[in-house]
Amino acid sequence: MNSTRLHDWHIAAGAKMAPFAGYEMPISYPTGALEEHLICRRSVGLFDIDHMGQVELSGPGADAFVSRIVSATVLDMKDWDARYSLLLSDEGTVIDDLFVYRLPGQWWIVINAGNRDVDLAWFKKHLPAGVTLVDKSDETYMIAIQGPRAIELMDAVSDRKVSGFPRFTSGELKIAGIPVLFGRTGYTGEDGGELFFPAEGAERLWKLLLGEGERLGIETRAIGLAARDSLRFEAGMPLHGHEITPSINPIEAGFKWACGLEKDFIGKQAVEAVMAAGAKRRLVGLEITGGVPREGYEVQSTAGEGIGECVAGMFCPTVKKYAANAFVAPAFAKLGTAVKVVIHGRPRDAIVVKRPLYVPAYRR
């Protein structure tokens, strides 16, 4: 089992720890997962996400290689732009989802912890001569800072004002002498960003952000993976292994927008074939009455026939609803359709609702 450099800090803070993607990670702190979720929605949450991996690609063939191996259009990106993409198999199913940064002279690709080996093998399998791949995961630390006051806190501690960075762009800055690549992105729906920096600075930077938050009167708290999941779920973001997997294609999961169909990329033919034939199932949001839906629970029509399955489900703390993401037969995917979710052996009322369930104030 791997652990991050903040492991001892998490333990000292009283975190409940559990294995996630091969790492022992904080699930929640004594603050409690629900309160952690709400703190991130009202002020600032800090997330230790060092389990995430980072890959650097460079060389004369790197532009063409990245464009071919990821689904999204990337060649129109300017230096410092950041963009969401999928990594697709030849069959057009989702190997992983990625954040692609175009930096001067190189591409910086952020991958999911649990898929690090698979992703690296896939990159290496397709790597042409003239492209250099370096796995930077171990030497790079990653912290997310998210919430309506995250940018205010960043501006206060950084030698550059990140408030000037448009959404989905990045830049280099220094915090107390630590060189940081800051991407104005995130996985909670809130404003904020993700920090990449040399791993040895992890504890110092983490404590500095918490301490400066307190000093400036900006409520800033460590947030565990349980709240990270409910935050991303409410904001309609996928978690690989749930809404997207190696047996799900982007069309059924609603990710056509992340496929640059005007260019060539691995998996494109398969994606186009699904588009031509029509998806056999659709990802929908469900709101449930009378129970908590969970991954694996069956979705039924009101007549009691099986029409799909939940891939994630929970209580959503901001919107105060019990909701699931589920794949259902296309005939049941229309907003407002009444269906059932079988919870503990009993079908409960559910309705197909619009995703995401939550849109933060700054994007309304």
């Binding site: 997962a33 629900l34 349980a226 908590v292 929970m314 209580f315 503990h344």
Partner: protein
């Protein structure tokens, strides 16, 4: 660990407490603490008869569902309707405002087989 000394316990962390001729049941402070934030409690219908050790409901925390086991056999005479609107009452006050069910016992001597507060504290302390 907060223990209600007047209650008795199952090793699965449900408590039962005498209340007149009936009993009140719920989950222990140790249980709510290890479950974390509780977001839903599914309770039985009033009038239902449930045997000792059978499930009477489900408690849902942020991440998981856990079955609730009947501490003694009995007929459900009331459930705590407040938990529908505020399941966190189980976290805040598990022995009083966070109670789950009342039941009329079918076999009162089962009480003697439950763990008393001291024995339960010792048992829960092992986890």
């Amino acid at each position: 660990m907060n223990i209600d000394k007047s209650a008795r316990y199952r090793t699965s962390h449900e408590f039962a407490r005498k209340d007149g001729a009936e009993f009140v049941a719920g989950i222990s402070d140790h249980a709510q603490e290890s479950l974390g934030d509780i977001v839903f409690v599914e309770l039985p219908e009033v009038g239902k008869t449930i045997k000792q050790g059978e499930t009477f409901g489900v408690v849902e925390s942020v991440k998981a569902a856990s079955d609730l086991y009947m501490p003694m056999s009995g007929r459900i005479t009331a459930v705590n309707g407040d938990l529908a609107g505020d399941p966190a009452l189980v976290n805040k006050d598990c022995y009083a405002k966070g109670w789950m069910i009342r039941f009329a016992p079918a076999n009162p001597p089962e009480w003697d087989g439950l763990l008393d507060a001291a024995a339960y504290e010792k048992e829960a302390g092992k986890e």
